[in-house]
Symmetry: C2
Subunit: 143 residues, 2 copies
DNA sequence: TGACAACAGTTGTTTCAACGTCTATCGTGC
DNA sequence: GCACGATAGACGTTGAAACAACTGTTGTCA
């Protein structure tokens, strides 16, 4: 419950920020993931499986981002089943614009805590969920 | 992100459990809150403001619980604006049935951590969200 | 008293996530 | 080559959340 409450409180700030850019946190993470492999691309479902929380339909999430020109999708010729997804320049630009805002948001969220406390919190959270991670899914949690 | 990830992982277990009883975590909390004042009752919106995450429409959430006979609503005569909500025997019985399951679920979620670690984690989480709590809202987080 | 703001809930609408099912494509063994 | 299962993704439907607008009720103050 404590975890839930804390999550809920901190999420409010983030959501407010992302809302300014008409993005959900989930969409932001998808974009960030794509940037991490840029200029390479990724198959649709690979994105879904690497996101923080499971997203059972990537299709529609990516649809919206594609409509806004933030990414492109292309069906591969070698294997016509997979659809490769890659960031566009517009997508990169948006992410760059967001970087500062996200940093600032994190500051407002957790800036009042000492770096030692944050480290310890991170460690404990990781320990808490350790038995519940599926080995298959490394996740992209890095800060 | 770490918080998000951990929250998401642990929530999965809870949701699976509540789903067996056709409840959401939010509904469960509303019931638990009502039990905490039983046999007294509470106005509809008072419930909403005390839940872990804000719930902008209590009406429909309570509708479903009322349809299942878990609670009763009654418009007060002194002030015909407020609707008092109270648990029924069926509601109490369901909660009692859930108590054991919830405990077991918590064990599976966090049983691998030492009690000292849990205490520390609780403390840090509370510290993390402290500046983001509105003073008006004491919240019912107690474990 | 009568207008008006504040209050407590309700209802409507739009949007989004969850779930299962479906289509197209590919690999494999016969 | 062809039936079969597995894979990658798309789609339709359903149910819940978000936001806003609305109804009914009460307090207040000119």
């Amino acid at each position: 419950m404590n975890l839930w409450r804390t999550y809920d409180r901190l999420k409010l700030l983030e959501e407010a920020m992302f809302a300014e850019f008409d993005l959900s946190a989930q969409q932001y993470n998808a974009l960030r993931l794509l940037r991490s492999v840029h200029p390479q691309t990724m198959p649709t479902l690979a994105i879904g499986s690497r996101l923080i929380s499971r997203a059972p339909d990537m299709t529609r999430l990516l649809d919206k981002l594609e409509q806004r020109g933030l990414l492109v999708r292309e069906r591969k010729r070698e294997n016509r089943r997979v659809v490769e997804v890659g960031l566009t320049q517009a997508g990169l630009a948006l992410l760059e614009e967001l970087d500062g805002r996200v940093q600032e948001c994190h500051n407002r969220q957790l800036g009042h805590m000492s770096s030692a406390s944050l480290k310890e919190l991170t460690r404990l959270l990781r320990e808490a969920r350790r038995p519940h991670e599926d080995a298959a899914n490394p996740s992209l949690v890095d800060h």
